[in-house]
Symmetry: C3
Subunit: 158 residues, 3 copies
């Protein structure tokens, strides 16, 4: 176990929880920690490319892909989203307060060397292909997560 390793499972695909995940991850990385984020289930939506990528999908996969937010720019709030109005209000207030956007937080995470890992089992269930997700990701399963968590001293599930 190492005093300077942290892991975060990002299960949620809500804007507020995604931001919390990256704020903690980037803070830890800036303080010299090795940080691994595991994106699973709804959390994969954060990593989707905003544009439509042509892939071969089953009907169910296509439907899932169509119903879920396409990337960090489309996420809703976990509470008081009101069909997206809440998220728009929150983004406008954050812009006023000069808080980094979720896209900027993802860029910073990359620049700080935060390891972003997409859960392959969830990708399979959701029908997401590697080319539909943003660049610079690693792809792995629960065993990889557990191996990393064993070496970390802070492990969160968000």
């Amino acid at each position: 176990m190492s005093e300077n390793k942290k892991t975060i499972i990002v299960f949620s695909g809500d804007l507020d929880k995604a931001m919390a995940s990256f704020i903690i991850a980037n803070g830890a990385a800036a303080m010299g920690n090795e940080v691994s984020m595991f994106f699973t289930f709804w959390g994969l939506n954060i990593l989707r490319k905003p544009e439509k990528i042509r892939t071969r999908k089953s009907f169910m996969e296509a439907m899932f892909g169509w119903m879920m937010p396409r990337g960090a720019g489309k996420l809703g709030l976990s509470k008081m989203n009101f069909g997206g109005i809440g998220a728009i209000m929150m983004k406008s207030i954050m812009k006023q307060k000069k808080v980094n956007t979720i896209q900027e937080l993802i860029e910073s995470a990359r620049a700080l060397g935060v390891k972003m890992i997409a859960c392959t089992m969830s990708m399979d269930v959701m029908g997401f292909k590697e080319e539909e997700l943003i660049d610079g990701l690693e792809f792995a399963g629960v065993a990889t997560y557990l191996g990393e968590a064993d070496e970390a001293n802070v492990n969160l599930f968000i």
Copy 2:
């Protein structure tokens, strides 16, 4: 503290989060970890027997019992549940992909020796009696959880 002990508090009674909990727990157990899952609040619904068990309940307890999902087979999704349609879609897609069902995951957890502990305080609040929950559980409170978490190197709240 031990490198090979993990605890998970399963607070959520959503199908997706229940599956994530068991996938992590079973993965850890398969890799040689001692794993304790503490089911509290909505998480107790995962452990309910599917059949109605005759017990003496107050009006409020009976109402709670009636309103909440009776067992792992009845859980909804935390997002996009649409009155149960989302959960049915998810289960159908998981079946296609040959992902274990939640019931199979619970069976595996048992076979792998994962300790499943029902929170007695939550049981009291929800009005659940021991005989309404599946077999093979332990019953304990927050002190037991904290004792186990002290010995573990990964502790998650789901």
Copy 3:
């Protein structure tokens, strides 16, 4: 790292999750642990004073303040809230069962020396001023959290 330090990030402002947070925190403190709770995002609502405090706010801040629950007494449930009916039912059943109220849990946390820290970045985004929150809090950011988490052996995100 210390065997007797715990941290909890309280991101949620739901009654059920707030209660779980304080039950764990108070249990740990009663068992001799040093406990730090970091209230961020919706979790700040738990700390609001119930009365309206006169402060200078932008239109958006005022609107946020008006839409969100004013203090621990106004929180809803994360599930089955039904516009507040669920929370009222839950509180009535908990009173019958002689479970401590959230307000009593907060008082106990204070008496047990649990450190309650309000996230300053979230306060800024939500437009909450120090005088709108209950007494006895500390104010800090993610770096403080990470410093404390590094010294703790149990770190939860709720």
